[in-house]
Subunit: 229 residues, 2 copies
Amino acid sequence: MEHRCENCIIRQFNSLRALNKDELKKVSDSKISKIIKKGDALFTEGQKLDGVFCVRNGVSKLSKLSSNGKEQIVKLTNRGEIMGQRSVIAEDFTNLSATAISEMEVCFIPKETISNILNTNPYFSLEVLRHLAHDLKEADDVIVNMSQKTVKQRLAEAFIYLKNNYGEDVNGFLSLTLSRDDYANIVGAATESLIRMISEFKKKGLIKTDGKKIGIVQDCTLQELADGF
Amino acid sequence: MEHRCENCIIRQFNSLRALNKDELKKVSDSKISKIIKKGDALFTEGQKLDGVFCVRNGVSKLSKLSSNGKEQIVKLTNRGEIMGQRSVIAEDFTNLSATAISEMEVCFIPKETISNILNTNPYFSLEVLRHLAHDLKEADDVIVNMSQKTVKQRLAEAFIYLKNNYGEDVNGFLSLTLSRDDYANIVGAATESLIRMISEFKKKGLIKTDGKKIGIVQDCTLQELADGF
DNA sequence: TGTATTAACTGACAATTATCATGTTTTAGA
DNA sequence: TCTAAAACATGATAATTGTCAGTTAATACA
Protein backbone atom coordinates (compact mmCIF):
# COMPACT_ATOMS: atom_id res chain seq x y z
CA MET A 1 0.00 0.00 0.00
CA GLU A 2 1.59 3.21 -1.21
CA HIS A 3 0.63 6.53 0.35
CA ARG A 4 -0.42 9.46 -1.78
CA CYS A 5 0.97 12.92 -1.02
CA GLU A 6 -2.51 14.30 -1.54
CA ASN A 7 -3.57 12.53 1.65
CA CYS A 8 -0.40 13.10 3.63
CA ILE A 9 -0.79 15.68 6.38
CA ILE A 10 2.95 16.07 6.76
CA ARG A 11 3.09 18.37 3.77
CA GLN A 12 1.21 21.02 5.72
CA PHE A 13 4.34 21.48 7.81
CA ASN A 14 6.72 22.17 4.95
CA SER A 15 7.06 24.02 1.67
CA LEU A 16 4.98 21.42 -0.22
CA ARG A 17 1.89 23.12 1.19
CA ALA A 18 2.28 25.71 -1.57
CA LEU A 19 1.65 23.14 -4.31
CA ASN A 20 -1.56 22.97 -6.31
CA LYS A 21 -3.39 19.72 -7.06
CA ASP A 22 -1.62 19.12 -10.31
CA GLU A 23 1.84 19.69 -8.87
CA LEU A 24 1.03 17.51 -5.90
CA LYS A 25 0.05 14.71 -8.21
CA LYS A 26 3.38 14.97 -10.01
CA VAL A 27 5.24 14.82 -6.72
CA SER A 28 3.20 11.87 -5.58
CA ASP A 29 3.74 9.99 -8.83
CA SER A 30 7.49 10.51 -8.81
CA LYS A 31 8.21 10.02 -5.12
CA ILE A 32 9.63 6.86 -3.59
CA SER A 33 8.83 5.91 0.01
CA LYS A 34 11.64 4.46 2.08
CA ILE A 35 12.22 3.08 5.54
CA ILE A 36 15.60 4.02 6.97
CA LYS A 37 16.84 1.95 9.88
CA LYS A 38 18.29 3.60 12.96
CA GLY A 39 21.97 4.28 12.34
CA ASP A 40 21.72 4.14 8.56
CA ALA A 41 22.69 7.08 6.38
CA LEU A 42 20.27 8.93 4.11
CA PHE A 43 23.18 10.59 2.38
CA THR A 44 26.76 11.47 3.13
CA GLU A 45 28.86 14.59 2.87
CA GLY A 46 30.18 15.28 -0.61
CA GLN A 47 27.56 13.21 -2.36
CA LYS A 48 25.55 14.55 -5.28
CA LEU A 49 21.90 14.44 -4.34
CA ASP A 50 19.39 13.84 -7.08
CA GLY A 51 16.41 14.70 -4.97
CA VAL A 52 15.16 15.73 -1.57
CA PHE A 53 13.78 13.77 1.35
CA CYS A 54 10.49 14.57 3.04
CA VAL A 55 10.47 13.21 6.58
CA ARG A 56 7.22 11.47 7.49
CA ASN A 57 8.52 10.07 10.74
CA GLY A 58 11.65 9.68 12.80
CA VAL A 59 14.65 11.85 13.56
CA SER A 60 18.01 12.27 11.87
CA LYS A 61 21.20 14.13 12.57
CA LEU A 62 22.86 16.39 10.02
CA SER A 63 26.58 16.31 10.60
CA LYS A 64 29.90 17.25 9.08
CA LEU A 65 33.37 15.88 9.57
CA SER A 66 36.02 18.38 10.60
CA SER A 67 39.59 18.16 9.35
CA ASN A 68 40.65 16.47 12.60
CA GLY A 69 38.21 13.66 11.94
CA LYS A 70 35.67 14.53 14.60
CA GLU A 71 31.99 14.71 13.71
CA GLN A 72 30.02 17.86 14.40
CA ILE A 73 26.24 17.65 14.48
CA VAL A 74 24.89 20.83 12.94
CA LYS A 75 21.18 20.16 13.26
CA LEU A 76 18.62 17.54 14.23
CA THR A 77 15.73 17.23 11.82
CA ASN A 78 12.09 17.15 12.76
CA ARG A 79 9.07 15.40 11.40
CA GLY A 80 7.85 17.22 8.31
CA GLU A 81 11.19 18.64 7.33
CA ILE A 82 12.55 18.54 3.82
CA MET A 83 16.17 17.44 3.72
CA GLY A 84 18.68 18.11 1.01
CA GLN A 85 17.01 21.18 -0.46
CA ARG A 86 20.11 23.32 -0.06
CA SER A 87 22.15 20.95 -2.13
CA VAL A 88 19.50 20.49 -4.83
CA ILE A 89 18.88 24.23 -5.16
CA ALA A 90 22.54 25.17 -5.33
CA GLU A 91 23.18 22.20 -7.65
CA ASP A 92 26.01 21.42 -5.32
CA PHE A 93 27.38 18.44 -3.43
CA THR A 94 25.87 18.01 0.03
CA ASN A 95 27.95 19.68 2.69
CA LEU A 96 26.40 17.50 5.36
CA SER A 97 25.75 13.85 6.12
CA ALA A 98 22.32 12.73 7.27
CA THR A 99 22.02 9.72 9.57
CA ALA A 100 18.90 8.26 11.13
CA ILE A 101 18.82 8.54 14.92
CA SER A 102 15.57 6.62 15.15
CA GLU A 103 13.83 4.52 12.51
CA MET A 104 12.65 6.85 9.77
CA GLU A 105 9.93 6.88 7.19
CA VAL A 106 10.85 9.25 4.37
CA CYS A 107 9.79 10.03 0.84
CA PHE A 108 12.40 10.70 -1.80
CA ILE A 109 11.35 13.28 -4.38
CA PRO A 110 13.49 13.50 -7.55
CA LYS A 111 15.11 16.84 -8.18
CA GLU A 112 13.52 17.24 -11.61
CA THR A 113 10.12 17.35 -9.98
CA ILE A 114 11.33 19.96 -7.50
CA SER A 115 13.12 22.05 -10.14
CA ASN A 116 10.09 22.12 -12.40
CA ILE A 117 7.86 23.42 -9.67
CA LEU A 118 10.49 25.93 -8.53
CA ASN A 119 10.63 27.35 -12.02
CA THR A 120 6.90 27.81 -12.37
CA ASN A 121 5.33 28.29 -8.95
CA PRO A 122 6.62 31.42 -7.17
CA TYR A 123 4.65 30.57 -4.03
CA PHE A 124 6.54 27.33 -3.70
CA SER A 125 9.85 29.17 -4.18
CA LEU A 126 8.81 31.62 -1.53
CA GLU A 127 7.98 28.83 0.88
CA VAL A 128 11.33 27.21 0.28
CA LEU A 129 12.97 30.60 0.76
CA ARG A 130 11.25 31.00 4.10
CA HIS A 131 12.49 27.63 5.27
CA LEU A 132 16.05 28.32 4.19
CA ALA A 133 15.83 31.73 5.87
CA HIS A 134 14.75 30.03 9.06
CA ASP A 135 17.58 27.51 8.87
CA LEU A 136 20.05 30.30 8.29
CA LYS A 137 18.88 32.18 11.36
CA GLU A 138 19.17 29.05 13.47
CA ALA A 139 22.65 28.43 12.12
CA ASP A 140 23.67 31.95 13.15
CA ASP A 141 22.42 31.25 16.65
CA VAL A 142 24.41 28.05 16.80
CA ILE A 143 27.56 29.94 15.75
CA VAL A 144 27.11 32.42 18.58
CA ASN A 145 26.43 29.67 21.12
CA MET A 146 29.44 27.70 20.00
CA SER A 147 31.80 30.59 20.36
CA GLN A 148 30.40 32.36 23.40
CA LYS A 149 28.98 29.68 25.66
CA THR A 150 30.78 27.07 27.70
CA VAL A 151 30.28 23.38 27.09
CA LYS A 152 28.21 23.22 30.25
CA GLN A 153 25.86 25.93 29.00
CA ARG A 154 25.53 24.29 25.60
CA LEU A 155 24.72 20.95 27.16
CA ALA A 156 22.05 22.47 29.39
CA GLU A 157 20.61 24.13 26.32
CA ALA A 158 20.67 20.88 24.37
CA PHE A 159 18.67 19.11 27.05
CA ILE A 160 16.03 21.82 27.06
CA TYR A 161 15.89 21.78 23.28
CA LEU A 162 15.41 18.03 23.18
CA LYS A 163 12.63 18.18 25.72
CA ASN A 164 10.81 21.01 23.94
CA ASN A 165 11.14 19.52 20.46
CA TYR A 166 10.80 15.79 20.98
CA GLY A 167 9.04 15.53 24.33
CA GLU A 168 9.41 13.00 27.11
CA ASP A 169 7.92 9.61 27.96
CA VAL A 170 5.56 8.75 30.82
CA ASN A 171 8.50 8.34 33.23
CA GLY A 172 9.90 11.77 32.44
CA PHE A 173 12.76 10.65 30.23
CA LEU A 174 13.53 12.37 26.95
CA SER A 175 11.76 10.61 24.08
CA LEU A 176 14.78 10.99 21.85
CA THR A 177 17.61 8.86 23.16
CA LEU A 178 21.06 9.88 22.01
CA SER A 179 24.40 8.26 22.65
CA ARG A 180 26.94 10.14 24.76
CA ASP A 181 28.96 10.43 21.59
CA ASP A 182 26.07 12.17 19.82
CA TYR A 183 25.71 14.57 22.72
CA ALA A 184 29.41 15.34 22.51
CA ASN A 185 29.08 15.97 18.78
CA ILE A 186 26.14 18.30 19.29
CA VAL A 187 27.74 20.50 21.92
CA GLY A 188 31.18 20.22 20.32
CA ALA A 189 33.21 18.68 23.10
CA ALA A 190 35.28 15.60 23.82
CA THR A 191 33.14 12.60 24.72
CA GLU A 192 34.90 12.19 28.06
CA SER A 193 34.29 15.82 28.99
CA LEU A 194 30.67 15.42 28.12
CA ILE A 195 30.19 12.26 30.17
CA ARG A 196 31.75 13.99 33.15
CA MET A 197 29.33 16.85 32.75
CA ILE A 198 26.36 14.51 32.62
CA SER A 199 27.59 12.94 35.87
CA GLU A 200 27.89 16.40 37.38
CA PHE A 201 24.36 17.42 36.31
CA LYS A 202 23.08 14.17 37.74
CA LYS A 203 24.95 14.66 41.03
CA LYS A 204 23.42 18.12 41.31
CA GLY A 205 19.95 16.69 40.73
CA LEU A 206 19.34 18.59 37.49
CA ILE A 207 18.80 15.44 35.47
CA LYS A 208 18.26 11.74 36.05
CA THR A 209 19.58 8.86 33.98
CA ASP A 210 18.64 5.27 33.30
CA GLY A 211 21.20 3.69 31.05
CA LYS A 212 21.33 5.81 27.93
CA LYS A 213 18.08 7.53 28.80
CA ILE A 214 18.16 11.01 30.29
CA GLY A 215 15.37 12.81 32.09
CA ILE A 216 15.14 16.49 32.92
CA VAL A 217 14.43 17.05 36.60
CA GLN A 218 14.96 20.78 37.15
CA ASP A 219 13.87 22.66 34.04
CA CYS A 220 14.37 26.11 35.52
CA THR A 221 17.81 25.59 36.98
CA LEU A 222 18.90 24.03 33.73
CA GLN A 223 17.56 27.00 31.79
CA GLU A 224 19.37 29.42 34.09
CA LEU A 225 22.55 27.45 33.63
CA ALA A 226 22.15 27.67 29.85
CA ASP A 227 21.70 31.43 30.14
CA GLY A 228 24.81 31.74 32.25
CA PHE A 229 23.63 32.27 35.80
CA MET B 1 24.01 62.74 -9.97
CA GLU B 2 22.05 59.63 -9.09
CA HIS B 3 23.17 56.28 -10.45
CA ARG B 4 20.76 54.04 -12.31
CA CYS B 5 20.69 50.30 -11.55
CA GLU B 6 20.50 49.66 -15.28
CA ASN B 7 24.08 50.92 -15.56
CA CYS B 8 25.40 49.44 -12.34
CA ILE B 9 27.68 46.47 -12.88
CA ILE B 10 27.40 45.40 -9.26
CA ARG B 11 24.08 43.73 -9.95
CA GLN B 12 25.83 41.09 -12.06
CA PHE B 13 27.26 39.72 -8.82
CA ASN B 14 23.99 39.21 -7.01
CA SER B 15 20.44 38.03 -7.45
CA LEU B 16 19.38 41.25 -9.20
CA ARG B 17 20.94 39.85 -12.37
CA ALA B 18 17.76 37.84 -12.84
CA LEU B 19 15.63 40.97 -13.29
CA ASN B 20 14.22 42.06 -16.62
CA LYS B 21 14.34 45.65 -17.88
CA ASP B 22 10.99 46.56 -16.43
CA GLU B 23 11.77 45.16 -13.00
CA LEU B 24 15.15 46.81 -13.00
CA LYS B 25 13.53 50.15 -13.70
CA LYS B 26 11.21 49.67 -10.75
CA VAL B 27 14.14 48.87 -8.48
CA SER B 28 16.07 51.83 -9.75
CA ASP B 29 13.14 54.21 -9.27
CA SER B 30 12.47 53.08 -5.72
CA LYS B 31 16.03 52.70 -4.46
CA ILE B 32 17.83 55.20 -2.25
CA SER B 33 21.61 55.54 -2.40
CA LYS B 34 23.42 56.06 0.87
CA ILE B 35 26.92 56.61 2.15
CA ILE B 36 27.61 54.86 5.44
CA LYS B 37 30.59 56.07 7.43
CA LYS B 38 33.07 53.64 8.91
CA GLY B 39 31.77 52.46 12.27
CA ASP B 40 28.15 53.39 11.58
CA ALA B 41 25.39 50.80 11.66
CA LEU B 42 23.25 49.87 8.67
CA PHE B 43 20.82 48.13 10.95
CA THR B 44 20.82 46.52 14.37
CA GLU B 45 19.71 43.20 15.77
CA GLY B 46 16.00 42.99 16.47
CA GLN B 47 15.07 45.79 14.12
CA LYS B 48 12.31 45.40 11.53
CA LEU B 49 13.82 45.96 8.11
CA ASP B 50 11.67 47.49 5.44
CA GLY B 51 14.04 46.75 2.63
CA VAL B 52 17.38 45.29 1.65
CA PHE B 53 20.78 46.85 1.06
CA CYS B 54 22.81 46.30 -2.08
CA VAL B 55 26.49 46.92 -1.39
CA ARG B 56 28.20 48.97 -4.10
CA ASN B 57 31.37 49.47 -2.14
CA GLY B 58 32.92 48.95 1.25
CA VAL B 59 32.82 46.17 3.83
CA SER B 60 30.58 45.51 6.79
CA LYS B 61 30.43 43.03 9.61
CA LEU B 62 27.30 41.06 10.47
CA SER B 63 27.29 40.40 14.17
CA LYS B 64 25.13 39.22 17.01
CA LEU B 65 25.29 39.85 20.72
CA SER B 66 25.44 36.80 22.93
CA SER B 67 23.67 36.65 26.28
CA ASN B 68 26.94 37.47 28.06
CA GLY B 69 27.16 40.72 26.16
CA LYS B 70 30.01 39.78 23.86
CA GLU B 71 29.71 40.42 20.14
CA GLN B 72 30.17 37.57 17.69
CA ILE B 73 30.89 38.40 14.07
CA VAL B 74 29.06 35.87 11.93
CA LYS B 75 30.08 37.08 8.49
CA LEU B 76 31.87 39.84 6.63
CA THR B 77 30.05 41.12 3.58
CA ASN B 78 31.56 41.63 0.20
CA ARG B 79 31.04 44.10 -2.58
CA GLY B 80 27.93 43.15 -4.51
CA GLU B 81 26.18 41.39 -1.65
CA ILE B 82 22.58 41.97 -0.75
CA MET B 83 22.08 42.44 2.96
CA GLY B 84 18.92 41.92 4.94
CA GLN B 85 17.24 39.51 2.53
CA ARG B 86 16.76 36.84 5.17
CA SER B 87 14.82 39.19 7.36
CA VAL B 88 12.72 40.62 4.53
CA ILE B 89 11.86 37.19 3.16
CA ALA B 90 10.96 35.69 6.51
CA GLU B 91 9.10 38.89 7.43
CA ASP B 92 11.05 38.71 10.61
CA PHE B 93 13.17 40.99 12.78
CA THR B 94 16.85 40.96 11.81
CA ASN B 95 18.81 38.48 13.85
CA LEU B 96 22.03 40.32 13.10
CA SER B 97 23.48 43.79 13.29
CA ALA B 98 25.35 45.25 10.32
CA THR B 99 28.13 47.74 10.91
CA ALA B 100 30.40 49.38 8.35
CA ILE B 101 34.05 48.39 8.69
CA SER B 102 35.11 50.76 5.95
CA GLU B 103 33.20 53.60 4.33
CA MET B 104 30.33 52.09 2.39
CA GLU B 105 28.24 53.01 -0.59
CA VAL B 106 24.95 51.12 -0.52
CA CYS B 107 21.56 51.25 -2.17
CA PHE B 108 18.48 50.69 -0.09
CA ILE B 109 15.69 48.86 -1.95
CA PRO B 110 12.22 48.91 -0.30
CA LYS B 111 10.78 45.54 0.56
CA GLU B 112 7.63 46.10 -1.52
CA THR B 113 9.76 46.24 -4.65
CA ILE B 114 11.52 43.03 -3.67
CA SER B 115 8.32 41.22 -2.66
CA ASN B 116 6.60 42.11 -5.91
CA ILE B 117 9.39 40.70 -7.98
CA LEU B 118 9.66 37.60 -5.76
CA ASN B 119 5.98 36.90 -6.36
CA THR B 120 6.17 37.17 -10.11
CA ASN B 121 9.66 36.29 -11.29
CA PRO B 122 10.64 32.71 -10.42
CA TYR B 123 14.16 33.23 -11.79
CA PHE B 124 14.73 35.97 -9.27
CA SER B 125 13.43 33.73 -6.47
CA LEU B 126 15.74 31.01 -7.63
CA GLU B 127 18.71 33.38 -7.59
CA VAL B 128 17.86 34.48 -4.08
CA LEU B 129 17.48 30.84 -3.10
CA ARG B 130 20.93 30.09 -4.43
CA HIS B 131 22.44 32.90 -2.41
CA LEU B 132 20.71 31.84 0.79
CA ALA B 133 21.80 28.27 0.11
CA HIS B 134 25.36 29.46 -0.20
CA ASP B 135 25.14 31.46 3.03
CA LEU B 136 23.71 28.45 4.81
CA LYS B 137 26.56 26.25 3.68
CA GLU B 138 29.09 28.79 4.85
CA ALA B 139 27.33 29.06 8.20
CA ASP B 140 27.57 25.28 8.61
CA ASP B 141 31.29 25.48 7.96
CA VAL B 142 31.67 28.20 10.57
CA ILE B 143 29.83 26.05 13.12
CA VAL B 144 32.23 23.18 12.55
CA ASN B 145 35.26 25.45 12.74
CA MET B 146 34.04 27.04 15.92
CA SER B 147 33.56 23.78 17.69
CA GLN B 148 36.42 21.72 16.35
CA LYS B 149 39.28 24.10 15.77
CA THR B 150 41.45 25.91 18.27
CA VAL B 151 41.55 29.70 18.44
CA LYS B 152 44.98 29.58 16.83
CA GLN B 153 43.65 27.61 13.88
CA ARG B 154 40.69 29.91 13.46
CA LEU B 155 42.90 32.97 13.52
CA ALA B 156 45.22 31.53 10.89
CA GLU B 157 42.18 30.76 8.79
CA ALA B 158 40.82 34.28 9.24
CA PHE B 159 44.07 35.82 7.97
CA ILE B 160 44.02 33.63 4.88
CA TYR B 161 40.37 34.44 4.29
CA LEU B 162 40.99 38.17 4.54
CA LYS B 163 43.87 37.99 2.11
CA ASN B 164 41.93 35.91 -0.42
CA ASN B 165 38.78 37.99 -0.25
CA TYR B 166 39.98 41.55 0.23
CA GLY B 167 43.55 41.41 -1.02
CA GLU B 168 46.61 43.27 0.17
CA ASP B 169 48.24 46.63 -0.49
CA VAL B 170 51.56 47.28 -2.27
CA ASN B 171 53.49 46.73 0.96
CA GLY B 172 51.93 43.34 1.56
CA PHE B 173 49.53 44.37 4.30
CA LEU B 174 45.91 43.22 4.30
CA SER B 175 43.72 45.77 2.56
CA LEU B 176 41.00 45.33 5.15
CA THR B 177 42.19 46.66 8.48
CA LEU B 178 40.34 45.32 11.49
CA SER B 179 40.72 46.20 15.14
CA ARG B 180 42.04 43.56 17.51
CA ASP B 181 38.59 43.53 19.01
CA ASP B 182 37.04 42.68 15.64
CA TYR B 183 39.52 39.86 15.17
CA ALA B 184 38.59 38.52 18.59
CA ASN B 185 34.91 38.69 17.69
CA ILE B 186 35.48 36.85 14.43
CA VAL B 187 37.40 33.93 15.89
CA GLY B 188 35.34 33.94 19.07
CA ALA B 189 38.00 34.53 21.69
CA ALA B 190 38.89 37.00 24.41
CA THR B 191 40.61 40.09 23.02
CA GLU B 192 43.65 39.54 25.25
CA SER B 193 44.04 35.95 24.07
CA LEU B 194 43.84 37.11 20.51
CA ILE B 195 46.43 39.85 20.91
CA ARG B 196 48.78 37.34 22.47
CA MET B 197 48.30 35.05 19.50
CA ILE B 198 49.05 37.84 17.05
CA SER B 199 52.27 38.51 18.96
CA GLU B 200 53.12 34.84 18.76
CA PHE B 201 52.46 34.65 15.00
CA LYS B 202 54.61 37.72 14.55
CA LYS B 203 57.42 36.28 16.67
CA LYS B 204 57.35 33.13 14.55
CA GLY B 205 57.57 35.21 11.38
CA LEU B 206 54.20 34.12 10.03
CA ILE B 207 52.86 37.65 9.87
CA LYS B 208 54.13 41.21 10.14
CA THR B 209 52.39 44.19 11.73
CA ASP B 210 52.50 47.95 11.44
CA GLY B 211 50.18 49.51 13.96
CA LYS B 212 46.75 48.05 13.29
CA LYS B 213 47.83 46.74 9.91
CA ILE B 214 48.67 43.08 9.48
CA GLY B 215 50.53 41.44 6.63
CA ILE B 216 50.75 37.77 5.79
CA VAL B 217 54.35 36.61 5.44
CA GLN B 218 54.16 32.83 5.27
CA ASP B 219 50.98 31.82 3.47
CA CYS B 220 51.75 28.10 3.44
CA THR B 221 52.72 27.73 7.08
CA LEU B 222 49.64 29.70 8.05
CA GLN B 223 47.46 27.42 5.92
CA GLU B 224 49.01 24.34 7.49
CA LEU B 225 48.41 25.79 10.91
CA ALA B 226 44.76 26.39 10.03
CA ASP B 227 44.46 22.78 8.89
CA GLY B 228 45.98 21.54 12.11
CA PHE B 229 49.54 20.55 11.26
C1' DT C 1 48.82 71.31 21.35
C1' DG C 2 47.54 69.31 25.46
C1' DT C 3 44.46 66.07 27.39
C1' DA C 4 41.00 62.59 27.65
C1' DT C 5 39.64 58.48 25.77
C1' DT C 6 40.18 54.38 23.45
C1' DA C 7 42.91 50.63 21.68
C1' DA C 8 46.88 47.74 22.04
C1' DC C 9 49.65 45.12 24.82
C1' DT C 10 51.75 42.13 28.82
C1' DG C 11 51.91 39.33 33.09
C1' DA C 12 50.03 36.34 36.56
C1' DC C 13 46.75 33.29 37.52
C1' DA C 14 42.38 30.62 37.31
C1' DA C 15 38.98 28.10 34.86
C1' DT C 16 37.74 25.22 31.25
C1' DT C 17 38.42 21.53 28.35
C1' DA C 18 41.18 17.88 25.98
C1' DT C 19 44.01 13.84 26.18
C1' DC C 20 45.59 9.50 27.70
C1' DA C 21 45.10 5.55 30.39
C1' DT C 22 42.27 2.24 32.29
C1' DG C 23 38.31 -0.13 34.12
C1' DT C 24 33.34 -1.26 33.88
C1' DT C 25 28.98 -1.98 31.75
C1' DT C 26 26.06 -2.76 27.92
C1' DT C 27 25.00 -4.57 23.54
C1' DA C 28 25.00 -7.33 19.44
C1' DG C 29 25.54 -11.39 17.30
C1' DA C 30 27.50 -16.22 16.71
C1' DT D 1 24.21 -17.93 26.58
C1' DC D 2 28.78 -16.75 25.80
C1' DT D 3 31.98 -13.49 23.92
C1' DA D 4 33.84 -9.67 21.40
C1' DA D 5 33.04 -5.13 20.51
C1' DA D 6 31.19 -0.92 21.57
C1' DA D 7 29.65 2.43 24.77
C1' DC D 8 30.03 4.37 29.26
C1' DA D 9 32.66 6.01 33.06
C1' DT D 10 36.47 7.97 36.00
C1' DG D 11 41.17 9.62 37.33
C1' DA D 12 45.37 12.08 36.43
C1' DT D 13 47.43 15.41 33.86
C1' DA D 14 48.37 18.78 30.26
C1' DA D 15 46.96 22.21 27.06
C1' DT D 16 44.09 25.89 25.93
C1' DT D 17 41.77 29.88 26.87
C1' DG D 18 39.69 33.43 29.91
C1' DT D 19 39.95 36.91 33.58
C1' DC D 20 41.82 40.57 36.13
C1' DA D 21 45.03 44.09 36.76
C1' DG D 22 47.92 47.20 35.05
C1' DT D 23 51.04 49.74 31.35
C1' DT D 24 51.91 51.88 27.07
C1' DA D 25 50.66 53.69 22.62
C1' DA D 26 47.52 55.79 19.50
C1' DT D 27 43.70 58.77 18.47
C1' DA D 28 40.34 62.30 18.80
C1' DC D 29 38.97 66.63 19.73
C1' DA D 30 38.33 70.87 22.61
